[in-house]
C-alpha cells in the first residue's frame, strides 16, 4: 500500500465526514458534539463548542436563520432538532470560560475594515488573531451596525454589549462616526480593505457591480474588481435576505483571503468546503423511532430539562454501517478510515513492534463490509493485501496461520490427495472435487455424492479428485503456496482431459472461479437441483430451518437458489435470517479468524447462531461444524439428502481436528479400495501407536490444536530413544519432541493396549533436547 492508495481507501470511508447540519452551517458549528454535550447536561461544554465557530454566541443564537435544520435527518421522524433554541439555552445555561485570546506574533500588514457589523467584526476578529493591525471605520456611534435596529425585545442591548466585549480585548483601532467615501484612497493607505457596510448601503465606492447591481465579488475569495479590496456580508445580497451567520462566514472567509493576499500566496488554492457544502456522510435512518420536538416549558425559553430532552432527539449522525454489522470491526472500536491508516503504518514499520498484526490477521475476509459500505470499501481485500505484504516482507508471525497451513499440507499430502478418472476410463467429463473439510466432516456423504453423479450423469465419465483447493494459503497471504497449489489442480485437470469440476464447497468454488477462470466449474447443489434428488432420499420430513449462506457463496445467487429449492423439496419451511444471501455473515472460519483471534471469532459465531432459534441449514461443512461447536443445531444439506429416517444429524458434534484428518485418510483409503481396487501404502510407524484419551483430555487437546498425530510422534520418539522424564510418585512419563516447528509435551503411561494420555501442551520456543542429540536419529 502506498500513500496514494492509503488516501483513496481513507476517502472511501465516510465516517469522518461532517453531518449535514455542520456542512450546511456557513461557519460549520459542530452541532453533533454540541448536542451530545447538551444531551448529557453539560451546557458549559456545549457553549464552548458553539463559541469555537461563533464569536458572538448571544447575538447569533437569537438571530441565526439556522440553515442547519434544512438537512437534519430528524426531519421526517418528529421534526428537525430545534438547534437555535438549544444554542440559546447553552448561552443562557452554560458558563463561559474566558480563555485569553492569544494573538499570533505581530505580522506586517495593516487592514482597514469598513463597517462595524457582524461581518466586519468577524473579519477583524480573525485578522487580529492572526497578528495583523486592524482599523474599523464605523459610520454610527457604536459597533454592531444593523444589530441596533433589531427589536430590543428580540435582541436586548445588553446581549449585544456583552458579546461585543470580546472585541475590546483584541487591540483593534475603532473609529466610530467615521463614514468612508473613498475606498480606493483607503486602499492606498492600507495593505488591504474589507468592505462590510451591510445590506442597506447605497454606496458602491466606484467598484464594479454585478448584473443585479451589487458590488461584484469573487464567490470564493470575496475580492472585488480592485485587488486588495474585499467585500462581504449583506452588501452582497441586499435587504431581501438577512443571514447573520452568513455575514460572519463571509467575514471570516474574506479574512482568509486577506491573510493570503498579505502573504502573497494564492487566494484560490484549496478553498473547498469553506461555506455551506453538501455533506458526504451516510447515515442509516431506517429504524428511527419518531419523537416530537420538545416544546419550551415557558413558551419562549428551553429549561435545562427541555434542552436535555430536545438534544437527546439528535440522531448523532454517523455511518458505522460496517462496524454495526461486523463483530471484528466492532471489537477494535474504530472504523475503516482509522483501520486502513493503522494497517498502512504497520506495514511501514521497519524496526519496532507491529501492533496491528493481530488486527490484520483476525479478519474473516468475508466481504460483508464491502457489501454494506455506501462506497464499497472492503476491509477484507485490504487485510488480505496486508497479509500478502507481511509474508513478502517476511514479517508474518510464524504462529499466525501455521496450524491451518499444516492442515492444508496434510490435505494435499498422500494421506488424502489423489486424482482418478472413473475406473476403466482415461479421461473425465466431470470431476467431483469435494474439498478438504466436507471429507473431514462427513466422509460418507462424499461417497454418496460421487455415486449420485455416476448414476445421474449416465453418459459422462465422472472422476474424483481429493485435496485442499488452496484457499487457506490465500487467506494466510501465502501467494506462492497458493499458486503452487493451483498449478497442481491445473496439471491434474489437464491430465484428466479438462473435465468440468463439480464443487460442493463455496470456498473451493471461489478459488476455482477467480484463480482458475479457464476451468469449467459447477456447484454440486446446482447439479442436484437440475437432476433431482436421489431416489434413495428418505421421504420429506416437515421442518422449519433457517438457511445460512456461507460467506464465500455471497455473490452466488444461483447456488443460493438451488439450495433453497432443494431444501423445499426435502420438506423444509425456509426462514431467512436477517443477514442472508449477499449480506450473509461468516461463521468465523473464513480468513482463519478462528485461529488468529479466538475471542473475536467467538463473538462472531455466537452472534450468528443467536439470530434464530430454528435449526440452521447450510451448504458448507465448516459453517455447520462451527455452529455445532456452539451447541447450535445445524444441518448440512447433504445431511438432509442422505439422512436416514430417525437420524438427528442436526445434533451431530464437530468431529474435531484429529478426527478430521482420520476421516480424510480413511475416506481416501476406502474409495481407492472400493472403487479402484487400490491399496493405500506408505503409512508411518507412529500411525500404529494407539492412544487412550479421556473425553475431557481430548477436548483440552482440541482447544490447544494438538493432534493425535503430534502425540503419536512424541511417543514414537520417546519410546524408541527412552528420552523421557518419569515421576517416581505416579509412574507417569513426560516426553517432549519437536517434529517440525512446535515442541509437544505429552504426559502418558504405557498400558497393555496402548498409551494412556494424561495431558499434552506445546510451545514454539526452542529448548535443549527437543530433538535427538545427534542429527539423523529421528525420522
Amino acid at each position: 500500500m502506498d500513500q496514494k492508495e492509503l488516501r483513496e481507501l481513507e476517502a472511501q470511508c465516510l465516517q469522518e465526514c461532517a453531518p449535514t447540519c455542520t456542512a450546511t452551517c456557513p461557519v460549520h458549528v459542530d452541532v453533533k458534539t454540541m448536542l451530545a454535550e447538551t444531551a448529557r447536561g453539560d451546557f458549559s461544554a456545549a457553549l464552548k463548542t458553539y463559541r469555537k465557530a461563533v464569536p458572538f454566541p448571544g447575538i447569533i443564537s437569537r438571530l441565526c436563520d439556522q440553515p442547519c435544520q434544512g438537512g437534519c435527518l430528524r426531519m421526517d421522524s418528529g421534526g428537525a432538532i430545534a438547534i437555535r433554541d438549544l444554542e440559546r439555552a447553552c448561552v443562557r445555561l452554560g458558563e463561559i470560560t474566558h480563555e485569553k485570546v492569544r494573538p499570533l506574533p505581530k505580522r506586517k500588514g495593516h487592514v482597514a475594515i469598513i463597517g462595524g457589523g457582524v461581518s466586519g467584526l468577524s473579519a477583524a476578529y480573525e485578522l487580529t488573531r492572526k497578528g495583523y493591525a486592524v482599523t474599523i471605520f464605523e459610520t454610527g456611534g457604536a459597533l454592531g451596525g444593523s444589530l441596533w435596529q433589531i427589536d430590543r425585545d428580540f435582541l436586548p442591548a445588553e446581549v449585544i454589549t456583552e458579546d461585543l466585549k470580546i472585541m475590546d480585548t483584541l487591540g483593534i483601532d475603532v473609529r466610530l462616526n467615521t463614514p468612508i467615501s473613498d475606498v480606493l484612497e483607503l486602499r492606498r493607505e492600507h495593505e488591504a480593505v474589507y468592505l462590510a457596510v451591510g445590506a442597506q448601503t447605497e454606496e458602491y465606492f466606484d467598484l464594479q457591480r454585478d448584473e443585479y447591481g451589487f458590488i461584484k465579488t469573487d464567490p470564493v475569495t470575496f475580492e472585488t474588481s480592485v485587488a486588495g479590496i474585499f467585500a462581504g456580508g449583506g452588501l452582497r445580497w441586499g435587504k431581501e435576505m438577512h443571514s447573520s451567520i452568513t455575514s460572519i462566514s463571509e467575514g471570516r472567509r474574506a479574512a482568509i483571503s486577506i491573510d493570503r493576499h498579505l502573504q502573497h500566496v494564492s487566494l484560490t488554492a484549496a478553498r473547498g468546503n469553506e461555506g455551506p457544502y453538501q455533506s458526504c456522510l451516510f447515515t442509516n435512518t431506517d429504524k428511527i423511532e419518531p419523537q416530537p420536538i420538545t416544546p419550551e416549558s415557558d413558551g419562549w425559553l428551553y429549561s435545562r430539562a427541555d434542552a436535555v430532552q430536545e438534544a437527546q432527539r439528535c440522531l448523532q449522525c454517523e455511518c458505522m454501517e460496517c462496524v454495526k454489522a461486523c463483530e471484528y470491526l466492532k471489537h477494535y472500536e474504530r472504523y475503516p478510515r482509522r483501520y486502513v491508516r493503522e494497517i498502512y503504518n504497520n506495514l511501514a514499520i521497519v524496526k519496532g513492534t507491529r501492533y496491528a498484526n493481530t488486527f490484520i490477521n483476525s479478519c474473516s475476509l468475508c466481504g460483508l463490509c464491502g457489501e454494506i459500505c455506501p462506497e464499497d470499501l472492503d476491509m477484507g481485500a485490504v487485510n488480505l493485501a496486508a497479509r500478502q505484504a507481511m509474508v513478502k516482507q517476511k514479517r508474518m508471525p510464524a504462529s499466525a496461520f501455521d496450524f491451518a497451513l499444516r492442515d492444508m499440507a496434510f490435505s494435499n499430502s498422500d494421506h488424502f490427495s489423489f486424482a482418478r478418472n472413473r475406473p476403466g476410463t482415461t479421461s473425465s467429463d466431470f470431476v467431483l472435487f469435494p474439498g478438504c473439510q466436507l471429507c473431514a466432516s462427513s466422509p460418507q456423504h462424499v461417497e454418496s455424492a460421487y455415486d449420485y453423479l455416476n448414476t445421474k450423469l449416465i453418459d459422462a465419465n465422472v472422476g474424483l479428485m481429493f485435496g485442499c483447493c488452496g484457499a487457506p494459503a490465500k487467506w494466510a497471504g501465502e501467494i506462492e503456496l497458493f499458486n503452487q497449489t493451483l498449478a497442481r489442480w491445473r496439471a491434474n485437470l489437464q491430465t484428466m482431459g479438462n473435465p468440468t469440476v463439480v464443487l460442493p464447497c463455496s470456498s473451493c468454488y471461489q478459488t476455482f472461479k477467480t484463480a482458475l477462470p479457464e476451468v469449467q466449474i459447477i456447484s454440486l447443489w446446482e447439479l442436484y437441483d437440475r437432476y433431482g434428488l436421489p431416489e434413495t432420499t428418505a421421504p420429506a420430513v416437515k421442518r422449519t430451518i433457517a438457511i445460512h449462506d456461507p460467506c464465500s457463496a455471497r455473490r452466488e445467487r444461483s447456488v443460493q437458489d438451488s439450495v433453497r429449492h432443494l431444501a423445499e423439496q426435502l420438506g423444509c419451511t425456509i426462514e431467512e435470517l436477517p443477514h442472508s444471501r449477499e449480506k450473509t455473515v461468516c461463521c468465523s472460519y473464513g480468513g482463519h479468524m478462528w485461529l488468529a483471534n479466538p475471542e473475536v471469532a467467538g463473538k462472531t459465531v455466537r452472534r450468528r447462531v443467536d439470530e434464530s432459534p430454528a435449526d440452521y441449514l447450510t451448504y458448507c461443512a465448516m459453517c455447520r461444524d462451527f455452529f455445532a461447536n456452539q451447541g447450535k443445531r445445524s444441518l448440512h444439506i447433504l445431511d438432509l439428502i442422505y439422512g436416514e429416517p430417525g437420524d438427528d444429524s442436526a445434533a451431530r458434534p464437530n468431529p474435531g481436528w484429529s478426527q478430521r484428518n482420520e476421516n480424510r485418510m480413511r475416506l481416501k483409503r476406502k474409495v481407492l479400495q472400493t472403487i479402484w481396487g487400490e491399496a493405500m501404502d506408505g503409512s508411518q510407524p507412529y500411525e500404529a501407536i494407539r492412544l487412550i484419551v479421556a473425553d475431557e483430555v481430548r477436548a483440552r487437546l482440541e482447544g490447544r490444536l494438538i493432534l493425535t498425530e503430534d502425540i503419536q510422534r512424541v511417543l514414537e520418539y520417546a519410546e524408541r530413544t527412552k528420552r523421557r522424564l518419569r515421576s517416581p510418585k505416579t509412574g507417569h512419563f513426560l516426553a517432549y519432541y519437536k517434529p517440525t516447528t512446535v515442541t509437544y509435551w505429552v504426559e502418558y503411561e504405557p498400558q497393555a493396549d496402548g498409551f494412556y494420555i494424561f495431558n499434552a501442551y506445546s510451545h514454539r520456543m526452542d529448548v535443549p533436547g527437543s530433538q535427538p542429540p545427534t542429527s539423523g536419529g529421528a525420522s
Binding site: 519496532g352 513492534t353 507491529r354 501492533y355 498484526n357 493481530t358 508471525p397 510464524a398 504462529s399 499466525a400 530413544t721 527412552k722 528420552r723 523421557r724 522424564l725 518419569r726 515421576s727 517416581p728 510418585k729 505416579t730 512419563f733 513426560l734 517432549y736 515442541t743 509435551w745 495431558n759 501442551y761 506445546s762 510451545h763 514454539r764 520456543m765 526452542d766 529448548v767 535443549p768 533436547g769 542429540p773
Partner: protein, 71 residues
Amino acid sequence: MTAHTGFSPKETPWVCGQCDIPLVLTPVDVGYMGNAFPVELWKCPNCGLVFVPEELALGKMLEVEKQLEDK
C-alpha cells in the same frame, strides 16, 4: 548474563527417565527467531533433558513468542 529465575517451580516431581537421576535447576538458553534467553529450568545433569512446566509453556513462553513475532 544471569538466567531469569522464577520460570520453574522450586520442586519438581520429575526425574530423568533415561538416566534415573534427579533433575537439577540449571541455567539454560531457550530461543526463538534468533533470540536467546537464559532461564532456569530443571535439567538432567547427565543427558541434558529438561522440564518445561505446562504453566511456563502456555504462559510466559507464549507471551514472549508473540512479542518476538510482532517485532
